[in-house]
Amino acid sequence: MTVKRILGLFNDFDQATAAIRDIKNADLPHLDWDDVTIKSPIEHHDVESVLGVRPIPIRNYTLVGALTGASLAFLGLATSQGNFFSQLKGGKPIIPLPPDFVLTYEMLILGGVYITVLGFLISAGLPTRIKSDLYNTAVSEDQIGVMVKSNMHCIAEVRKIFERHNVLSVQEEVVAQ
């Protein structure tokens, strides 16, 4: 069956969210809700309530990054101090805890930030190439896009719903035959 993608551009969030609500209420067969996407110039919290809860795994990356940074720092420092610098200490602690705490603290932040950025890129699907014809530059300006991927019958229904909500323009593309 032909799988298509449709993008409707709306003037504001109210129209776009109303259209999405109607798509949801229409209970269209073969529509995977994860294939409904909003494209917008700014972030809007109402979008989340309409689309439902979708995962944001970044905090897990942050936790792993911070813990990895801190453990690597402390273990790395302690190991190198114990192996290379013990003869220079002149009776002072071989692994001095207060200075190592400062360096561990810095590495905790460094690891946390780096891995958060990595997590952001992975979770947001970046970097990516804009291959689809359905990208419209109006989205980065002032229009709200609603994009749906499904079979052609479902797309036809979605188009009708878009039109009921004063869509400004509609674009379609074939994803798979």
Binding site: T37, I38, K39, S40, P41, I42, E43, V47, E48, L51, R54, I56, I58, R59, T62, L77, S80, Q81, F84, F85, L88, K92, P96, P99, D100, V102, L103, Y105, E106, M107, I109, L110, G112, V113, Y114, T116, V117, G119, F120, L121, S123, A124, G125, L126, P127, T128, R129, I130, Y135, T137, V139, S140, E141, D142, G145, M147
Partner: protein
Amino acid sequence: MSSVTEGKEKDIREDIAWAKINRDVLASLDRPRATYWWLFALAFGMFLVGVACEAYQYDTGLGVSNMNNPDVWGLYIATFIFWIGMSHSGTLLSAILHIIHADWRKPIYRFAEAMTTFSLMTAGLFVAVHLGRLWQIYYALPYPNERWTWPNFQSPLLWDAMAIFTYLSSSILFLYVGAIPDFAICRDNASGWRRTFYDKLSLGWMGTDRQWRNFRVAYLVIACFLIPLAVSVHSIVASDFAMSQQPGWHITSFPPYFVAGALYSGCAAIITLFIMLRHTFRFEEYMTMPILDKTARLTFAIAMVWTYLNLIEYATVWYGADEVAKETLIQRATGPYSAYWWAMNFLGSVVPFSLIVKKWRANLTIMMIVSLLLNLGMWLERWMIVTPTFSHGYYPWTWNHTFFPSLVQWGIVFGSFGWFGMLFMLFCKLVPSVSMYEVKEMVFHRKLAKLHAREA
């Protein structure tokens, strides 16, 4: 240009169209006022003066700077601290105000973040410059080798290197991640090499709900990391002094005093650059007078915190039992550097009172002059921490009350402002210095709030 309703000026007009925001900000990348080129030429000229002085010092040796025992840090390390301090502006405006939802920061945080990055890059130069012959940095690198230049983990100087590296790389990432949606706007409106440039930087951003959702959390998390990081960076820089036994430096309140000084000079610099950018890029509708007013009030509040901590420092030394430290304090107020010390106190603690006059806060010329004076005071503060203590330390046979920096030192310090200015101006020509998507959010939410208020 900001509109006035019910007798109160707004931070921004809610009726600005989103498309207009794009147009206005993108125009700043293409058609700045002629002032931009004058400022760039001035910064470049200053940078060349610095390069010439550095080349002379490199070729001749550190003696041409007049630095010798006991003052082995001179203006270089004083200016290093100054630039590290300036870097706190971005953290304050971007991270702290972001977390407390102060949305008036939105039109001005991007250039403050850029200030953070370029200030740190400028500060880093002084570590190398103060060595005189630059290749000596190789001999100072602390790693286990046959020269036995082992890292001293107990030294705050080593912590400094780690903290500054963390701060620089994190603030670059913070600046970059926060600008990705704007790079996408630039990509969609650019042509030629600029399109390729922004296409690479935007990473294929399309503004999907998945991207925005993750973007919001990532930005917030990095902001949360940056706040303790910024505090730790300047606390560690303060520890370079406070953990030594030198009179005038061995003071417990030094870390918060340094952090307050850093936020203070950063805020004052934001005012200076705010006024410059507002004029140069025709940002009158975005960098509005109410926002300048808020920044000025914030600066005043931080100035008072700094003043309090400064007085605490004097009181601690005065009423403490350390006679040598007390003598150094008296020497600062009455010795060869007294004029600079009194100027620092006047500029740092008295001049900010001009910010309580509402009429003056609304005058761009006065605000420009005041912000420059405040930063002059903060630069003097750093110099008055370094040099008087070195020139009048514990041992009388090390005293040198005649030390004064040579023209070479002044030239390099002068050049550092040119280097910073040049990088900053280049940045503003390549990256939107007003965050377009955040200004759109600000306009949108304020419009919504107004509608709700009307309905209520």
